[in-house]
């Protein structure tokens, strides 16, 4: 048993729902109790979809358990077929139905429906949402993709785009950005899946020359199978950030046998110029803590350091499957990766790292609010405000612009930060002030932690500390206390405070 308050990922059948809801002409019959229908609201409320997910739940009750829950499943599957007339169906069990072992796959086959029925085995007590999405997509691709037809001569190179789902973080916008990029390169898009694809489209996957994998957490296993079955290579680079986007273009150009140089040369990217412009000097060395799914966390770590000049003080993910890559990336920055799905452990890691900016998930946004640290969301799980009405991709050239804005916006602007430093005692301009463009709500002063028992702060030193802007005060306090403890200083005076400052500023 694992004690959990908030979780980063839902159960695996939520992953299956994300695939089913992304697609057209597919229906999911889920053997599950009534409460599990809450999952619909993820799509209708959080993502604000205008249609119910194509999911029928059997909603068995305690009184059915002694009787025939299997019959209930068959009725639900038959009626769902008659009502929705899908091209294909997926069937499976949620955590409770897994325990009663009704075998939805066998039951559905016994119905003899005139459409393909794909049975899902998603072990709820071992696996989670992303795994469930990947497994579902893999099973669908495997069951539905037909052997490729012989390729026509002289055809433009073509690819499939794999990975975007419903409830994905900016998947819809990423897809538009990348589709546009590939089209400008002269590459035809054969099929995009799961988002917008029908089961019939999946049958055509083998016709493409290669696969573009946008979200390996979801499309990884399907792409690996397509590589084996149809000899389709797949892209490895995730085009988040300018550098990665350029590498991605080079990678697809090589796969397609095209010359990427013209497109790379033609691209003028605002984010790069903004980052070089003198106004951005103050971003140099900002301490940033990055946490999310592996793909987004790794990409954010790279962009934060290489394209904004931040210092990476924390990197982590809730995805244990990709722990190794994260550990390696963290090591390159001289830090240790935080691999955990316990948000309290992540919060502790953030506190220890004392970042000036957090790039995380919805959970880290709450942590950041509590700690009074600026934050931007870079990865699922996300909430309704992370589905903006405007076009807001994370990938490609426009994605790099969006990320530049999103990450810089929560920070204090350069000159403002200096003025705060200079006029600490101005009554409107005091150290607790929030960035002026964010209104009053952003600042929450956290209570001063108690110093180690052996230490006391002289009153005047404490007052001096109070003049330091709140967003660096905690760090100054801890550094000074560490400095004093290491040197056996019992009372921290103003001198000790400034000695510590001199010691720690490099």
């Amino acid at each position: 048993m694992q004690l959990a308050v908030w979780t980063y990922e839902g159960p695996p059948h939520i992953g299956a729902m994300r695939v089913a809801t992304a697609m057209q002409g597919l229906h999911y019959v889920l053997h599950a109790p009534q409460g599990d229908t809450y999952a619909d609201l993820l799509f209708t409320m959080i993502e604000r979809r205008g249609a119910r997910p194509p999911v029928t739940y059997t909603t068995f009750q305690a009184r059915d358990l002694g009787g025939d829950t299997a019959e209930l499943f068959k009725t639900a599957a038959r009626e769902a077929f008659e009502r929705f007339r899908p091209q294909a169906m997926i069937v499976g069990a949620s955590c409770t139905a897994e325990l009663i072992q009704d075998d939805p796959g066998g039951l559905a086959r016994a119905l003899g429906l005139p459409i393909p029925v794909v049975a899902l085995e998603l072990p709820s007590y071992q696996k989670k949402e992303n795994w469930g999405a990947a497994e579902t997509f893999y099973r669908l691709v495997r069951s539905l993709s037909a052997p490729p037809a012989p390729r026509a001569e002289g055809r433009a190179p073509s690819c499939n785009i794999l990975g975007p789902t419903a409830l994905g973080f900016r998947h819809r916008d990423d897809l538009r950005e990348i589709t546009d990029l590939l089209t400008r390169l002269g590459i035809a898009i054969n099929v995009t899946a799961p988002l917008g694809a029908t089961p019939a489209d999946l049958a055509r996957l083998g016709e493409a020359d290669f696969n573009v994998v946008l979200y390996p957490e979801i499309a990884g296993p399907a792409a690996a199978w397509l590589a084996r079955a149809h000899a389709q290579p797949a892209t490895k680079t995730i085009p988040i950030g300018l550098g990665a986007t350029r590498e991605f273009i080079a990678e697809v150009a090589a796969l397609a046998g095209l010359d990427a140089a013209p497109i790379l040369a033609a691209e003028t990217v605002r984010s790069a110029w903004y980052s070089r412009s003198v106004d951005s000097n103050y971003l140099t060395g900002k301490r940033v803590f990055v946490f999310g799914d592996a793909t987004h966390a790794l990409a954010a770590a790279r962009m934060a350091t290489e394209e904004l000049g931040f210092t990476l003080v924390g990197l982590g993910s809730y995805a244990r499957e990709q722990a190794r890559e994260l550990r390696e990336a963290a090591k390159a920055h001289g830090i240790e990766a935080t691999i955990s799905d316990d948000y309290l452990a992540v919060e502790a890691a953030i506190q220890a790292a004392q970042p000036e900016l957090i790039l995380g998930t919805q959970m880290e946004r709450h942590t950041a609010k509590r700690l009074g640290i600026p934050c931007a969301v870079i990865s699922a799980p996300v909430h309704v405000q992370d589905y903006p009405a405007r076009y807001s991709p994370q990938m490609g050239f426009e994605g790099a612009n969006v990320l530049f804005d999103t990450w810089v916006h929560p920070l204090m602007m350069g000159l403002e930060e200096h003025l705060l430093g200079m006029f600490r005692e101005d009554f409107e301009f005091h150290g607790e002030a929030a960035p002026s463009h964010l209104g009053a709500a952003a600042a929450t002063a956290t209570a001063a932690p108690t110093p180690p028992a052996t230490l006391t702060w002289a009153a005047e030193a404490e007052r001096e500390l109070g003049k330091i802007p709140f967003f660096v005060r905690g760090k100054a306090r801890r550094n000074t206390e560490r400095y004093a403890t290491e040197r056996g200083i019992g009372t921290i005076t103003i001198e000790a405070l400034y000695d510590a400052k001199a010691h720690f500023s490099r």
Partner: protein, 425 residues
């Protein structure tokens, strides 16, 4: 004016009206969801769901409407090895509880809340509670109830929780009034003042704000249900000798007056005195409701089954705002507790119990009501089809009972229609 309004004859009523009972997909929350308001209500209680990742995800998604930084609930997520054998599961549960209590020393009352998986594997949480009580007494009291989706629907979770509290109530033979059902504190305070003004007392509330303030119960206890979904709690209170005062529920001016009157009659308060005390409040309520009359009167309204509040709400909207209920869906119809409500419903309203969401959607599309009250999974899809909707979960998260909330309650239904008329897009 209030007297005239009061004198309005009861509608023909549909106490005996037929009910459409369907079996199909039920689009409702399970009883775990009640924790989202109960953990705010009982301030020193903690709710530990013994369940799966699905249960944890439900709590977080439903609570997403009202995110709390440090909620007083959590889930003990069962994993593969917990399913291997009962000893393991029990040992694991003990370990998780110890871990939780170490982290949250402020917990005085711990509810172990059963889920579908814990029930299907027959993990006995009442035994577990006994065992844990022995370990953690006297600092912490451990109780258990089921919030599982195979046993409970949405608000029935509150019923199960309160039912678990009844055996904990000390025996108290003295006369007194008990108000049963979680209410917002502002509502409780208003009611307390009204009962005091009427000379009814002592008055206690279940659930209490703090576990330590759990009231007593006995043959002298008369209780008023503040919520329509408390069948089991009422039964257990009656087993302890308490007597239920039959009344409509305190929604709207009329409902609140009738509800208060049930207590006033039990306490032998003269009718004139009752009018004297309640007239001003009732008038305030009527004035506040009247502001929304023009927008709502004559509009047709349908309810999808959700909180069991549907029948009292339909009664309020039809009698005080002249709306026309088309279909009133409810997850369960507990006739004895709703007898006074059913008598006030228009005879032509169609009642449905349980339900098949796809078939009710068909009926809804055919009837095209002006306003649809439904859960979060259906609201946006119906809006996208051109319906105006009111999400029903707001009705359990908002103070709506009593005179001074009657206008707010009407406003909840008026707002979506108001919005429709404003938007030009």
């Amino acid at each position: 004016m209030s007297a005239a309004a009061l004198a309005r004859p009861p509608a023909p009523g549909c106490t005996e009206a037929p009910v459409l009972r369907e079996r199909g997909q039920r689009e409702v929350f399970c009883g775990l969801t009640g924790i989202i308001w109960l953990h705010r209500k009982i301030q020193d209680a903690f709710f530990l769901v013994v369940g799966s990742r699905t249960c944890a995800h439900l709590m977080q998604s439903a609570a997403g409407v009202v995110i709390f930084a440090e909620p007083r609930f959590a889930t003990a997520i069962m994993e593969e090895r917990d399913l291997a054998g009962m000893t393991d599961a029990n040992e694991e549960l003990d370990r998780v509880v110890a871990q939780l209590l170490a982290r949250r020393p402020d917990i005085r009352l711990l509810f172990l809340v059963g889920s579908c998986p814990s029930e299907v594997i027959k993990l006995d949480l009442s035994r577990a509670a006994q065992r844990l009580n022995a370990t953690h007494a006297p600092g912490v009291r451990v109780l258990n109830y089921s919030g599982s989706g195979i046993e409970t629907t949405f608000t029935q979770g509150e019923d199960a929780c309160l039912a678990a509290l009844v055996p904990e109530m000390r025996a108290d033979p003295a006369p007194g009034l008990l108000v049963v059902g979680a209410l917002a504190e502002v509502v409780e305070d208003q009611m307390r003042r009204q009962f005091e003004a009427l000379g009814i007392g002592p008055v206690a509330f279940l659930p209490p704000r703090r576990a330590a303030d759990l009231p007593g119960v006995g043959p002298g206890t008369r209780f008023l249900l503040a919520q329509p979904f408390l069948a089991e709690t009422a039964r257990l209170l009656e087993d302890r000798g308490a007597r239920r005062l039959a009344a409509p529920f305190p929604l709207g001016a009329e409902g609140t007056t009738a509800w208060l009157r049930a207590a006033a009659e039990a306490w032998g308060i003269p009718a004139a005195r009752f009018r004297e005390v309640t007239a001003a409040g009732e008038q305030r309520a009527r004035t506040a409701i009247a502001r929304h009359h023009a927008l709502l009167a004559g509009r047709r309204i349908s309810f999808f089954p959700d909180s069991q509040l549907e029948i009292p709400l339909a009664r309020f909207l039809s009698r005080e705002l002249d709306m026309q209920p088309v279909e009133i869906g409810t997850p369960y119809l507990h006739r004895p507790h709703l007898a006074e409500e059913l008598a006030l419903l228009p005879a032509d309203a169609m009642l449905s119990e349980g339900g098949d969401v796809d078939r009710q959607l068909d009926r809804c599309r055919a009837a095209r009501p002006d306003l649809v009250v439904c859960g979060l999974g259906l609201a946006n899809p119906l809006e996208a089809e051109g319906f105006t909707t009111k999400w029903s979960i707001e009705l359990v998260f908002t103070p709506i009972q009593g005179y001074d909330q009657a206008g707010d309650l009407a406003a909840l239904f008026a707002r979506p229609l108001d919005r429709r008329t404003r938007l030009m897009v």
